[in-house]
Amino acid sequence: MDSSLVLQNLLSPPVLFFGLGLLSVVLRSDLEIPAPLPKLFSLYLLLAIGLKGGMELQHSGLDRLVVLTITAALAMALLVPITSFLLLRTRFDTYNAAALAAAYGSISAVTFITAETFLGALAVPFDGFMVAALALMESPAIIIGLLLVRLTTPRDSGPGLGWGGLLHEAFLNSSVLVLVGSLLIGVLSAAFSPAGMAKMEPFTEQLFYGALSFFLLDMGIVAGQRLRELRETGAFLIAFALLAPLVHAAVGLAVAVVLRLPQGDALLFMVLCASASYIAVPAAMRMTVPQANPSLYITASLGLTFPFNIVVGIPLYMAALQRFIPAT
């Protein structure tokens, strides 16, 4: 494996700021990025990748590769939660297994963004339609998660969400809406208001790296706080949180090879498969499966899988795919 990729990733500003956040928790410093500043950065990042992706999508158009990739992304968004559920059900009750499965079937936009930044540093190109894949992979696992609960438990007659509420929660939660909305705005503006898109560029491009670093500082703090709760998590879930990304990335690599995705898109595809949601899914699960214990699914996805992908996973997946996919 190319250990220089790992080192290069590890010593880039965003990952170092993530480490600073982790460190501040370990040292019990009072450093905090007070609410709602993290929300500002997360909204900004979604808006910026949406706009950029939309603009590139408008320029490249929809060809066969786009349609195939997006279909494969949706297939993975169904496959991953179902297989994960079958595995997790051996150790957890239905509620927790389904909530965890939903988290791993969905994606982490920040992991995706960090991978884009990593590709940028390596000067490896990638396509705008991958942002569409990101957007499309966020929601299905939420539906699958609740389907699994409904199919395997007696109908719960509490004041929970009905299917309408669930679909609403899955497809109209704020992160999906901002991402899809910005993507469409990017497509429309690039087509009809190129001057407007050009004036957006300093905002969406130049600030991006700094904003990501700032946000990862906060994510380091939040992930560090989660790591403290690791005792309650249990060895099985810790192993799952660190091995699932590897397995899912490997499946993603196989799909990417079959689809003949170029290197950049292949990395992003692997990262989508390997990452787990700690935003849209936990918020939806809290409401639809309140019987599940949030500290399990949040600690696993945010305290373990997210740092693993950011620090080690991304360069590892890159090193792996370089063996199978030639540079373009």
């Binding site: 609410a35 929300k39 950065f41 935003i279 936990p282 918020a283 809290r286 409401m287």
Partner: protein, 93 residues
Amino acid sequence: MKRLDLIVAEPELERLCGTLRQAGAPGYTVMRHVTGLGHGGTVSEGMDFSGFGANAHVVVFCEAAQLEAIATAVRPLLNHFGGVGFVADAEPL
């Protein structure tokens, strides 16, 4: 009069307020971004960026006669989603 203090997770807030209105609460006051400790463990503002949120603290002042209707409407929410409720005496100023 009675004073009712309710503390729930922020994502459930909108539903709780709807329930209060339907149950005939004459008004309420909401403090968001509240943290705390309960049976469900510690709640912090760390997840604020995620839609998962912290807690919300809702205060309702109502006539003693209205309390039972409100309590009946609110209890199932607290049982299903977690959260706590407490009642005390109060007088209008």
